[in-house]
Amino acid sequence: MSMKMYLPLDSAAVALGADDVAAAIAARFPEATLVRNGSRGMVWLEPLLEVEIDGVRHGFGPFETTDIDALSGDLANHPKALGPVDDLPWMQRQTRLTFARVGVIDPLSLDDYRAHGGVTGLERALSMTPAEIVTETTDSGLRGRGGAGFPTGIKWKTVMEAQADQKYIVCNADEGDSGTFADRMLMEGDPFTLIEGMVIAGIATGATKGYVYLRSEYPIAIEVMNKAVAIARQQGLLGASILGSAHAFDMEIRVGAGAYVCGEETSLLNSMEGKRGVVRAKPPLPALEGFMGKPTVVNNVISLATVPVIFERGAQFYQDFGLGRSRGTIPLQIAGNVKHGGLFEIAFGLPLGEIVDDIAGGTASGRPVKAVQVGGPLGAYFPRDLFDTPFGYEEFAGKKGLIGHAGLTLFDDQQDMLKMARFAMEFCAIESCGKCTPCRIGSVRGVETVDRIAQGDASAIPLLTDLCETMKDGSLCALGGFTPYPVMSALTHFPDDFATTAQEAAE
């Protein structure tokens, strides 16, 4: 009997030993087919081995090499048996649109990709005019998933209408925010979706060249994307004639070099041009003067990777999901001190508390959740009092926070929030590009000021507040401008962590 098995090549699975398990399985079952897939997103079960039994994929995890022998016995009674993966509550409760194929298909099989709905969106887009493609994208309600939330269709329209001999599609894959890994998982698990989205963006705007700016901290994603681009080129998904049409589009992968600020679109463009990753003043907008001074679409991985499903199922289908002005689905990334961490895609609108307590099951340590940082290092810390906030762009902005790239980092009650405020300033000081004063100098002064508070100087608290105001209003980009979010939310929602230290020092 030839067995078919799946074991993720995803970074999280590999970091937890998937490569060792894969090698041991190949040695023990040389006749079996082992597909290295993406991750299903249940990181607490990684490495998650799936075995196909009568056409149904059964899960076993977290799988270790010592669990291999028992695969020869009764699989239903295997000590790591989880049952059919699609029936697990984590999978059942999701609406997987952008991540529909991640963890399901062989990431580097274009046949597999097509068999699961891939390329259908592109085929439809090829039958439309650029203006129709832009309208469809606008009608879907898709907004920038990198965090800014700008309507994708509007950005494309600006580039479409710009006159130039060359235009570009740049995918921002510099996913540097702690607590986020959706871009990485998508690129590792379903790279053709991103490629297809970029091709559609190219056809819509008249851009014939694309780049993915991918961070160097993601070696597996870099490898998978490079292989996928080569396959796509070979099979006519990229090149001088996309699927035999009159449209040309080609792309390449560019690797970042460890600078967080390059996730900001203008410093990313400078970096791609071979310059220091310093921020550019806007205007001019990158849509008009972007890469090499040419009209450029800069979109996040998830924004572009959501385009194919919108064209496959239609704008109306996509925009029927969601809440208020946040349309469609959002791949939540649940991280930090968490019991059930991973990727969970669902329509916008779920209250924060339901995500934290119900879906994620609280902390890994079993202690009470003290704070959740939403949106990465520049996002606010939310206390339990704000857990009724529905997950949406405007809803989080209304609570002096942001959803960012939809990463949620849980902390238990042993976390010192003054320390986290200090870290936010320290991180800003390390990663500041140096172009604007509030960020370059304010971050260093911020560390000092938090240290003064820690030493019991309560008079430094208004100073910190004032400094945060200056950084927020005066910084050129989100690094200096949003660092006040974690700092001020820590100070506002967890005053005891700031007051106790002051009191202790006074005693």
């Binding site: 970074s11 999280a12 590999v14 970091a15 937890l16 990181v43 607490w44 990684e46 996913e175 540097g176 925010d177 702690s178 607590g179 986020t180 890994f181 990485r184 160097s216 901290e217 993601y218 070696p219 597996i220 560019r254 690797v255 970042g256 070099a257 460890g258 600078a259 967080y260 970096s271 791609m272 041009e273 071979g274 310059k275 220091r276 990753g277 310093v278 890469f291 090499m292 990334q333 649940i334 991280a335 930090g336 001190n337 968490v338 961490g341 991973g342 890994a364 940082q373 290092p377 990463g407 980092t409 849980l410 902390f411 238990d412 986290m420 870290f423 991180f427 390390i430 990663e431 590009c433």
Partner: protein
Amino acid sequence: MTATPVFGDAEQHVLHEILAANRHLEGALLPILHAVQHQFGYVPAEALPVIAKDLNISRAEAHGVMSFYHDFRDHPAGRTTLKICRAEACQAMGADDLVDHARDSLALDWHETTKDGAITLEQVFCLGLCACGPAMMVDGKLVGRADVAKLDAIIAEARS
């Protein structure tokens, strides 16, 4: 400390091959610096003026770019490079203790190399392993749910 190798004719030749393979790219400098560091383990000071001349930019600009990015180093690293994530999600799982243990047991600050040339210690902000932290990267290999025992084993192996 690891001695800085000589940048002789053979190295110049390799550098020119890298330039020839990359100079046609739009924005070639980062790909070139990556290739140089991949080849030599660092970006030799002797390489910068050559790169600058080839791309028709000033030495100051080449130096400015190279020194802006955390990834590029101006001297060789140890035989093993150990990167520990210090970002929030890993902190929530005790990364600070891991960091303290690494710095104490190796007697190193960030970017420093042990006297025997075995290990270079680097900080990193996010490896995208935020649901299985604390995370580390050892010579490009990812490690999730890192703890003191795993760290000690890695250090022992690097020194053996």
